[in-house]
């Protein structure tokens, strides 16, 4: 797959907000909003300076359980989030849904230190001519790594903007020569009770499984991510490798993948198995398709107080042709 699609929102250097300015902006927003909260809640004696730091005491490494995150060599970078401010690492690495390590947002960052990401092997099989297993060190050498700044939208109506590092999933999948029977791709997260002692409280069947239609998997936007913010993924964010499907709700972007299978029929997916009415196979971000728990019309960026309007396909309209003629409610 050598088709190069230029990012829809190429960034100009004049658009780049300096780190100092954007840090200050957050502080200002937080102060304004939090003093409003303080007034509302009647505990208004907050010192404005302190409202600022969003989890400022994140471990130096950002990794659950300590240990430095390896720096990655990045061949090229693209900004594909409409010039929006990147969410601070201290937020995107401490507010996670990774139920195998606890079901509250702050638990994975505390508990995922028990995940062993080396050695790590991904098995690829099913409807393909060249099935096989591949180690993470070899995966890292398969393609030049690129950084892509994407919006990331959770079904729970929060969102973030993250510089992911990885390469197109299609480049990876093509190596295994999927056959014409490979209409879908199924993914599986590691499930090891010893490394994931809290997994039994997840409330759904494990291992966590996800899937994409083959054309979705091969779409150039779909990223096989091995890092973020220039370094390897923290465990709580899905180390050592995960999917990033930026136009779908976050739960489609499966973490800590250890198995990939090409299949003929739509594979089962974890959240759909749990509650099919709420979580469909497609799960495309769509402000007009309401969810029983959350209006999907708006979303809140991590670290911000008020909500933004949610964009169709999370602001990636180039994927619309994949769903031509499909009813977005029926195929939610």
């Amino acid at each position: 797959m050598l088709i190069r699609v230029p990012p829809p929102h190429p960034i100009r250097s004049s658009q780049i907000t300096s780190e100092r300015v954007y840090a200050d902006r957050r502080r200002l927003v937080a102060q304004l909003g939090l003093s409003a909260v303080a007034l509302l809640t009647g505990c208004g004696k907050s010192e404005p300076t302190a409202a600022a730091s969003p989890a400022a005491d994140v471990t130096k490494s950002g990794q659950a359980g300590g240990g430095a995150l390896a720096e990655l060599t990045i061949a090229r970078r693209s900004e594909q989030a409409g010039g929006e401010v990147v969410t601070p690492f201290s937020d995107s690495s401490t507010y996670n849904n990774y139920y195998e390590f606890g079901t509250s947002k702050d638990e994975p960052a505390r508990n995922a230190g028990t995940l062993r990401t080396r050695p790590w092997t991904v098995a690829v099989d099913g409807e393909c001519e060249a099935p096989g297993s591949i180690g993470i060190e070899d995966i890292l050498k398969l393609s030049a790594l690129e950084e892509r700044i994407y919006r990331f939208r959770c079904v729970e109506a929060w969102s973030m903007v993250v510089p992911w590092v990885g390469f197109a999933l299609g480049d990876f999948l093509a190596r295994f020569k999927p056959t014409s029977k490979a209409r879908y791709v199924a993914f599986e997260t590691l499930h090891d009770r010893e490394q994931m002692p809290l997994a039994r409280y997840a409330g759904f069947e494990l291992p966590y499984v996800e899937g994409l239609r083959i054309d979705e998997a091969m779409h150039p936007l779909t990223l096989l991510s091995v890092g973020m913010y220039g370094r390897a993924l923290p465990n709580q964010n899905g180390a050592p490798l995960r999917l990033i499907v930026p136009w779908k709700y976050g739960y489609k972007s499966i973490k800590s993948i250890m198995r990939v299978r090409f299949v003929e029929n739509e594979p089962p997916t974890t959240w759909k198995k749990l509650e099919a009415r709420e979580y469909g196979f497609y799960s495309n971000v769509n402000p007009d398709v309401s969810h029983p728990r959350w209006s999907q019309a708006t979303e809140r960026r991590l670290g911000e107080l008020f909500k933004h309007k949610t964009l169709l396909y999370n602001g990636y309209p180039e994927v619309a042709s994949l769903y031509a003629g499909m009813d977005p409610v029926k195929f939610h």
């Binding site: 909003g33 400022a56 937020d91 995107s92 702050d106 409330g203 107080l305 909500k307």
Partner: protein, 218 residues
């Protein structure tokens, strides 16, 4: 929010017993604890990556906790035979409502930006919002008629109004349960406590349980 068993009229200016003073201090401290913790977090630790979600969860949880505590007062009075438990119900009930209103105000401000149209949509379309809103609405007349003047004026009607605490606590607990996507352990604990507190009031209890500690009051 006074539950069913309150007397229609109480002698005025009854001297406060040491137990009553102790209970008042304990419950005032407890009701103010969330305010203190929030103030400390705002000035020191911060509210995490999603401050609005944190505040909504935190204030909602405290509203539910205090509501359950309010509901525990009548069984405690029966268990210990101390009328003081009933005498602190109003302060607990009003603090419950204060935290529930804070919870609702944060939601209205940051999620709905005070749009009545959006509120209507959310209340109609999302069952857990319907339940939370209904609980808030049921508690409103209880808060308004919590004074002794209203109590005297309404006579028997007052009791009926204040029985709304029973559906309100169930709605509150289920509001929490239905919000959670998976792993329902925590909301189930709250719902379980609510159900126990309601079952303790059921009339069949008198068939096999001990007689109420202060029979003069019924």
């Amino acid at each position: 929010m006074k539950a069913a068993a309150a007397p229609a009229s109480r002698p005025q200016a009854r001297p406060a017993t040491p137990v009553l003073i102790a209970l008042r201090i304990a419950f005032w401290s407890l009701a103010l604890w969330p305010a203190a913790e929030l103030a400390w977090r705002l000035t020191h630790a911060g509210l995490g990556a999603n401050p609005v979600e944190f505040l909504e969860r935190y204030t909602g949880l405290w509203g539910l906790r205090l509501l359950l505590l309010t509901l525990a007062m009548t069984p405690l009075r029966e268990a210990f035979g101390r009328i003081e438990f009933v005498q602190v119900r109003r302060l607990l009930g009003l603090w419950t409502y204060a935290w529930v209103c804070t919870h609702f105000a944060i939601y209205l401000t940051f999620d709905l930006e005070w749009s009545p149209a959006q509120l209507a949509t959310e209340v109609i379309e999302r069952t857990y919002i319907t339940m939370g809103f209904a609980a808030w609405l049921l508690m409103l007349p209880m808060a308004i008629t919590s004074t002794q003047t209203w109590q005297r004026r309404l006579k028997r009607r007052w009791k009926q109004i204040h029985r709304a605490i029973y559906p309100a606590v169930l709605l509150g607990a289920v509001h929490f349960l239905w919000l959670v996507k998976s792993d329902h352990r925590e909301p189930l604990v709250y719902l379980g406590i609510a159900i126990v507190l309601l079952v303790l009031r059921m009339p069949f209890r008198r068939w096999w349980g001990p007689a109420p500690a202060s029979p003069a009051r019924r």
